[in-house]
């Protein structure tokens, strides 16, 4: 495979300007992420200390194999919800290594609102368990949650993908043979009791850990019975009388040590065999990405320059290099694993859509996982393209993409607008993992276009009310609309709502894809099969 010849001049004015612009964005992102992980009101820290509990991230550090990577999901979940007071949606999820085995972690963050489940917490946990199901990974639950946040119960309880889905997913995991271990650090009350209850293994900590369907106050109210926490659902009771939990631990570190020992008894999974070479670092420096991504979403960049900074040896075997050139397709290796990459170099035309569809068929035929690098403003519109059936060709691309049996991974590198989001494996299309770069944007149309449309509507409204806005007023209306729209278009909003699995620094893209890829090989690949293609 030939190395990509980069055309980037790292001394050019554009490069320097873009780099300065992007480094500011990265610094802001890193700060937000750090705050979400570690900045807590003092009273929450004191409360944990008083209860003799460890900080959730310290527990995680003890649990994971030292020096191994942890691919954290949605660290900025809920960053724009609940007045920003529920960082990371009060839970920590991700893929980590325990005893040499890949596991999904679902840890309550009891330093945030006692680990209470907000609607977005439930969404984040359900997503983590979906990832476990799709990739056939075991799960370790680190339970220390106050349970559902009652004032918002109607937004987290009744519907198909709400709280019940966590337990439903647990049952499906077990049915698939994916092991689950619960470490009970705090109270698991009501629904929460089912997390250890549905796990194959559980460890409970003396004093702080408890499992019951109804806590002492509820028992008192319902039946008049007076009972202590320990007698009702404490560590001693559950490991000697009820059998709800398997192992008794004197304290948290001991519970984690027992947990690690349990995991190390599990069989080592056999992975699906795909083509693999010896891994090699990219030839071009990944930090160049800061100078490649422009300072304006409308400015174009060559996606090959991005590929050159993600793949092994910057080597890329391009497919149909002179056909449908706005869609760049080709083969490369990431951490040694052979992948098929689809990246955008402009709008999707008829030919570019057909090229993508054909390329994805090749990848399915050859068991090659797909990587989508989204920077797409949509499918081309206009009379000529409609007459040539752009809808049919876009539908073919969608059909093949959605029916792909090989694992898919999506990176939002810049813009993701309109149907382009769908075609390039947006959130609805089951990418095994989907990460966003901090400056990326998602919306049904570009913010300028949306603002213009919304301003036209607003002006018509004002005129109907007998007002005639002058230029200055118009500009004010426009700025207001634009700011609102841009807020909801930003990667922070995307990540807050868990439309992705987290924001990542572009230089971490290769590693995030590497961990996602190796995790995906725990599930077998199916044989290619599609629906009806409108030819």
């Amino acid at each position: 495979m030939r190395r990509i010849q980069s055309q980037i001049n790292t001394n050019s004015a554009d490069f320097k300007q873009f780099k300065e612009h992007n480094l500011k964005i990265i610094a802001e992102f890193k700060q937000k992420q750090h705050d979400a992980r570690y900045t807590r009101p003092d009273r929450d820290l004191q409360r944990l200390k008083k209860q003799n509990k460890m900080m959730p991230r310290d527990r995680l550090e003890l649990l994971l194999d030292p020096g191994t990577p942890f691919l954290e999901f949605s660290s900025l979940a809920a960053n724009m919800a609940y007045d920003g007071k529920v960082p990371s949606a009060s839970c920590i999820t991700g893929i980590g290594i325990v005893g040499g085995r890949e596991v999904v972690i679902n840890a309550s963050d009891s330093s945030v609102k006692g680990g209470a489940w907000y609607p977005l917490s439930v969404k984040k946990i359900v997503r983590a368990l979906d990832i476990a199901i799709e990739n056939r990974l075991p799960v370790i639950h680190m339970c220390d949650s106050a349970g559902g946040f009652l004032p918002m119960q109607s937004d987290l309880f009744g519907d198909k993908y709400m709280a019940g889905r966590m337990f439903r997913n647990q049952t499906q995991l077990s049915k698939l043979g994916c092991k689950q271990l619960s470490l009970v650090f705090g109270h698991c009350t009501a629904g929460g009791a089912y997390i250890p209850g549905l796990s194959d293994y559980s460890v409970i900590v003396e004093g702080t850990g408890a499992v019951f369907l109804g806590g002492p106050p509820l028992v008192k109210a319902a039946t008049g019975e007076d009972v202590s926490v320990d007698d009702l659902g404490g560590a001693r009771m559950h490991t000697t009388i009820s059998g709800v939990c398997d192992y008794y631990a004197n304290n948290e570190p001991e519970a984690i040590a027992i947990g690690r020992e349990i995991v190390m008894q599990w069989e080592q999974p056999k992975k699906f065999d795909i083509q693999r070479e010896t891994p090699e670092d990219p030839y071009y420096d990944p930090t160049d990405l800061y100078g490649i991504v422009p300072d304006d979403i409308k400015k174009q960049f060559d996606v090959r320059e991005v590929i050159a900074r993600i793949v092994d040896g910057s080597r890329f075997s391009e497919y149909q290099p002179n056909y449908g050139e706005t869609m760049v397709c080709g083969f490369a290796n990431i951490w040694g694993y052979k992948v098929g990459i689809l990246g955008n170099n402009g709008v999707l035309f008829n030919d570019s859509s057909l090229k993508a569809a054909h390329f994805m068929q090749l990848c399915n035929q050859n068991h090659v996982p797909l990587v989508f690098l989204q920077n797409i403003t949509g499918y081309m519109i206009g009379k000529e393209y409609e007459q040539r059936g752009i809808t049919k060709d876009g539908a073919k691309m969608l059909m093949v993409q959605a029916c792909s049996e090989v694992p898919k991974f999506t990176i939002m590198t810049n813009g993701s607008f309109g149907a382009g989001n769908y075609g390039m494996c947006g959130r609805s299309f089951d990418a095994r993992t989907l990460f966003s770069w901090p400056q990326s944007q998602i919306s049904v149309m570009g913010s300028d276009q949306a603002a213009n449309t919304l301003v036209t509507i607003k002006v018509a409204q004002l005129k109907r009310q007998g007002m005639d806005p002058d230029a200055q007023q118009l500009e004010q209306v426009r700025a207001e609309v634009l700011s609102n729209y841009e807020n909801q278009t930003s990667a922070y909003y995307t990540s807050s709502e868990i439309w992705d699995d987290g924001i990542i620094d572009p230089v971490d893209t290769r590693n995030a894809l590497g961990i996602s890829l190796t995790a995906s090989l725990n599930a077998p690949f199916g044989d290619p099969r599609y629906g009806v293609l409108r030819l």
Partner: protein, 170 residues
């Protein structure tokens, strides 16, 4: 068909025959077995007839420069069947690739441009696209103005090739 390579202007036919720990190549119908181990992106270990040597590699477009035993070798793949780029010869006419609007024009009539220079910036489908000179030469005409809308296919700019004394003139 077997691929041909140019090594310092001498053509050789090379085909891999077997590949396991070592690679067996057929070079001009002679079988040669070599071991090759990449050390990093520039350096590799070459084992030939039991002797281990270090080779340094640098790539420039499609040419490879190899440094071995104090000598530099230039290796290029010989393309017997298609000469030049797959896109065919470029013309000096730059036509609009899609409908859009002109954002900025960077060149003027009479200006000399090099192939790949940005002639103008257009916007279509929320995306700005740089329109580049298809050949080197002198700009003969520019068919649009900043801010103007255009349809697909219209002539955005025309460049006349620099070298007017070649066969193309005849």
């Amino acid at each position: 068909m077997q691929p041909k390579y140019l090594l310092n202007d001498n053509s050789h036919t090379v085909t891999p025959v077997r590949r396991n720990d070592t690679v067996t190549l057929s070079i001009d119908d002679q079988l040669v077995t070599v071991g090759y181990r990449r050390l990093n992106s520039h350096e590799a270990e070459l084992t030939l007839k039991g002797k281990v040597r270090t080779v340094y590699v640098a790539q420039d477009e499609y040419k490879l420069y190899l440094h071995l035993d104090g000598k530099v070798w230039q290796l290029d793949r010989l393309n017997e069947f298609s000469e030049g780029s797959a896109g065919g010869a470029s013309s000096g006419s730059i036509n609009a690739p899609m409908p859009g609007v002109v954002i900025e024009i960077y060149s003027e009539v009479g200006q000399t441009v090099t192939q790949g220079d940005t002639v103008m910036l257009i916007e279509s489908m929320k995306l700005q696209t740089e329109i580049k000179a298809s050949i080197s030469g002198v700009i003969q005409s520019i068919g649009v103005e900043p801010g103007s809308n255009f349809n697909k296919g219209i002539l955005l700019a025309e460049i006349e090739a620099e070298e007017t004394n070649t066969e193309s003139e005849e």
